[in-house]
């Protein structure tokens, strides 16, 4: 049985009320959801908390998942909305975080490796652009799949990915060989 077929049978069993099937789905998709959230929000501990919330929110909604739909994209869509809600509720504590960041000792620019540069550049991208980059460039989502998951128009996703990619490459000092 291929991966999509296995997902479909697990979804069908979970829709019938099987928590065992749902836990198999959690096992199969936790990596994709957690990686997406880590890239989208930058805070790994928060990302893992949001990933748990994502799966808890997915369980009562699994009956609405259409047959043949991508489970990974569906879960990432829920995760994205959890992330947006979390950002809104965290807005009040942002001032405190900014004060903490200002006091933090920042390593010299030369000591920053590429991963830190990438994280910094990702943090500077707008939220939806960052989510598009996280899905399409890092997780091999097609533009259509990302548009479906994030509930954004396909053209918007394409332009977000192109702009985000260009900004990341500039930050990393990598020549854009696609031009």
């Amino acid at each position: 049985m291929n991966m999509e077929g296995l997902d479909e049978s697990l979804v069908a069993a979970a829709q019938a009320g099987s928590t065992q099937a749902f836990s198999r789905l959690v096992e199969r998709h936790q990596q994709a959801v957690r990686a997406f959230l880590r890239r989208a929000c930058g805070d790994w501990a928060l990302a893992d908390d949001l990933a748990q919330e994502t799966f808890l929110a997915a369980w009562p909604r699994i009956g609405r998942l259409k047959a043949g739909a991508s489970v990974r994209a569906w879960l990432c869509g829920i995760a994205y909305r959890k992330h947006l809600t979390s950002r809104r509720s965290a807005a009040r504590s942002r001032t405190r975080d900014a004060a903490y960041e200002a006091e933090r000792i920042v390593p010299a620019a030369g000591a920053l490796d590429d991963r830190l540069t990438l994280e910094t550049a990702m943090a500077e991208l707008p939220t939806d652009q960052r989510a598009c980059v996280a899905l399409c460039l890092a997780a091999d989502f097609s533009h259509a799949e990302a548009a479906d998951a994030l509930e954004l128009p396909l053209g918007t996703v394409k332009s977000h990915v192109a702009r985000g990619r260009a900004r990341l490459l500039i930050a990393l000092g990598v020549p854009d060989d696609a031009c």
Binding site: G17, S18, T19, Q20, F22, S23, V26, E27, Q30, Q31, R34, A35, R38, R39, W44, D48, A51, Q52, F55, L56, W59, D114, R115, L118, A134, L137, A138, R165, L168, L169, L172, V174, P175, D176, D177, A178
Partner: protein, 102 residues
């Protein structure tokens, strides 16, 4: 895939958690089961409260009726209770208990 995209992808790979993480999966399932348990408890508590209130309200009507029929129903009720206890003691009802899932 262009070299620039490959470089980005390699850097992004740092964010990926392990493909299998039993601790994470167990934490999700534990929270899920706990939530379902709390929902079941809330439902049962609500139903019990509603049933209690309904019984309290209907008791003045029910009590005379029950007294009137109790003499005639008592032998049948005893027979049913004894039969139920016998079946339960012989293990006939034990097999119906769900294993893991409700």
């Amino acid at each position: 895939m262009t070299p620039a995209d490959a470089r980005l992808k390699a850097l992004f790979a740092h964010h990926a958690p392990p493909a299998r993480d039993p601790a994470f999966s167990a934490a999700v399932v534990e929270r899920l089961v706990r939530r379902r348990c709390l929902q079941d408890l809330a439902l049962l508590g609500g139903l019990s409260t509603v049933g209690g209130v309904a019984l309290w309200g209907l008791w003045p009507v029910l009590q005379p009726a029950l007294i009137a029929v109790s003499d005639r129903l008592a032998p049948s009720a005893w027979a049913l209770a004894v039969a139920f206890c016998a079946v339960a003691a012989l293990g006939g009802l034990g097999e119906r208990a769900p294993a893991v899932e409700s």
